[in-house]
């Protein structure tokens, strides 16, 4: 089956093994997954099921042992290191539990950094960073340094950095981390809004409540996709309880 242009992420029968011989570990076994614009897919599964491996392959941070990964139709295997790094900077946003904000840079500078590394002029990078900080509800805190921000504000800065510019693919690994439920929900609300505006997203989480923000939920076990949720039904059906 050939891919279509509107597939932002396309994993085709992807395998990833670590080690060889009797010590071989199969992290992923023949996983196929397509994510389209405006779609958020949540990946759930127990520890060691392959969730983070899947995300690393999707973002070009790791290469599959077998199978193919395409981002916006581009097979990642065809890119050299420089091409892959450029794709990651321009088209893919990462949100990790560890925020990886640079303490010596202000919030605005942290957000502008990936653009400046990619050759965008300082003035334009800062303008885009300001827009991204406004999108996450922090228009006035651009001059603050990470240690002057709350945990929730730092996570918002990290999200602004992931969304800045024209990223079409957003990859989030337990993005709400240790945040309280209200703050965590606000973070997912932001992610959802960006997806609704046309990005594609993959959200790795072990919390069903967070996966509830996704359009589709897939379950991984032992490196295999074992289950996926059915398409969403009607609100009336849900409220009447007739689907239970």
């Amino acid at each position: 089956m050939s891919g279509s242009d509107d597939e932002v992420l396309d994993l085709r029968a992807v395998h990833r093994t670590h080690g060889t011989g009797p010590a071989v570990v199969h992290a992923l076994r023949g996983v196929s997954l397509v994510v389209r614009p405006g779609e958020l897919v949540a990946v759930m599964g127990p520890s060691g099921s392959g969730k983070s491996t899947l995300l690393a392959l999707a973002g070009g941070l790791d290469r599959p042992s077998r199978g193919e990964v395409r981002v916006e139709g581009q097979p990642l295997a065809a890119l050299d290191r420089r091409g892959l790094a450029q794709l990651r900077r321009r088209r893919i946003g990462y949100i990790f539990q560890q925020l990886n904000l640079l303490g010596s840079l202000s919030a605005l500078e942290n957000v502008a950094l990936p653009l400046e590394l990619d050759g965008t002029s300082g003035r334009r990078a800062r303008a885009l960073a300001r827009a991204a900080l406004t999108e996450v509800g922090l228009p006035a805190l651009g001059d603050r340094f990470p240690d002057q921000l709350s945990g929730g504000q730092q996570q918002r800065v990290a999200i602004a950095r992931a969304l800045v510019g024209e990223r079409r693919l957003v990859l989030a690994d337990e993005p709400t981390g240790a945040l309280d439920s209200q703050t965590g929900e606000a973070i997912l609300h932001l992610l959802r809004r960006r997806i609704d505006a046309g990005a594609a997203g993959v959200l790795v989480t072990h919390e069903a409540r967070h996966a509830g923000w996704a359009d589709r939920v897939v379950f991984l076990r032992d490196g295999v996709l074992v289950d996926t949720t059915a398409p969403l039904g009607s609100v009336e059906q849900l409220l009447s309880g007739s689907d239970r």
């Binding site: 409540r209 996966a211 509830g212 039904g233 849900l238």
Partner: protein, 200 residues
């Protein structure tokens, strides 16, 4: 919760007649608990019998409002002050179904778990979608009802995950059991757990 306490709580706001009570009840629960007008009048007549509400003279339009009595206020205060006992809730059909699936020949309990988890997860997605669309301050009571349903669905998914993990670990060790593949971490775990079980 009983409908009677719901109606008493609404009448504590002020006098209301049947249709007003039904509308206010559904507004408070975000229509998650639809009431028919017959239930409202049946409950009102029981509350009147018990001295917890009293009917007022009919309006010109022929509507008879009710007001809460002092005894009704005391009953309502007691209800708010008393935690709801878990034993008052209906038995969990799902838990019983899984327990039976485990011991009924020919039933693949993992399929039962996965089908239920998929359905519950879908319900959770729907509830989240409803929350996403309810951001006005006046939506707060409705959002809290939704949150309650979200947390219950989440608990069910977590329990189903737990069941699935337990099933992997307690896979039968007889001739029908598939041999663990080398390098398969969870299969190794399963064998180790099965061994520990056997030693007990």
């Amino acid at each position: 919760m009983s409908i009677r306490h719901g109606l008493l709580a609404l009448l504590e706001r002020g006098q209301m007649y049947g249709y007003q009570l039904r509308a206010a009840f559904e507004e408070s629960t975000g229509s998650t608990w639809p009431l028919n007008i017959g239930q409202v009048y049946t409950t009102l007549s029981r509350l009147e019998r018990d001295g917890l509400v009293r009917p007022l003279p009919e309006s010109e339009a022929g509507q008879r409002p009710y007001e809460i009595t002092d005894a009704g206020r005391a009953d309502l205060a007691l209800w708010f002050a008393t935690p709801i006992s878990r034993t008052d809730r209906p038995r969990d059909e799902l838990a019983i179904k899984l327990a039976l699936a485990l011991t009924t020949p020919g039933v693949d309990v993992r399929n039962v778990v996965q089908a239920q988890r998929s359905a519950t997860m879908r319900a959770l997605q729907e509830l989240t979608r409803l929350k996403y669309g309810s951001n006005r301050p006046e939506d707060l009571p409705w959002r809290l009802v939704l949150d309650s349903m979200v947390f219950q669905a989440e608990a069910e998914v977590r329990w189903l995950d737990h069941c699935e993990t337990s099933l992997v670990r307690h896979r039968p060790t007889g001739p029908a059991a598939p041999a663990p593949r080398p390098g398969d971490a969870d299969a190794g775990d399963a064998a180790r757990w099965a061994g520990e079980e056997a030693r007990r």
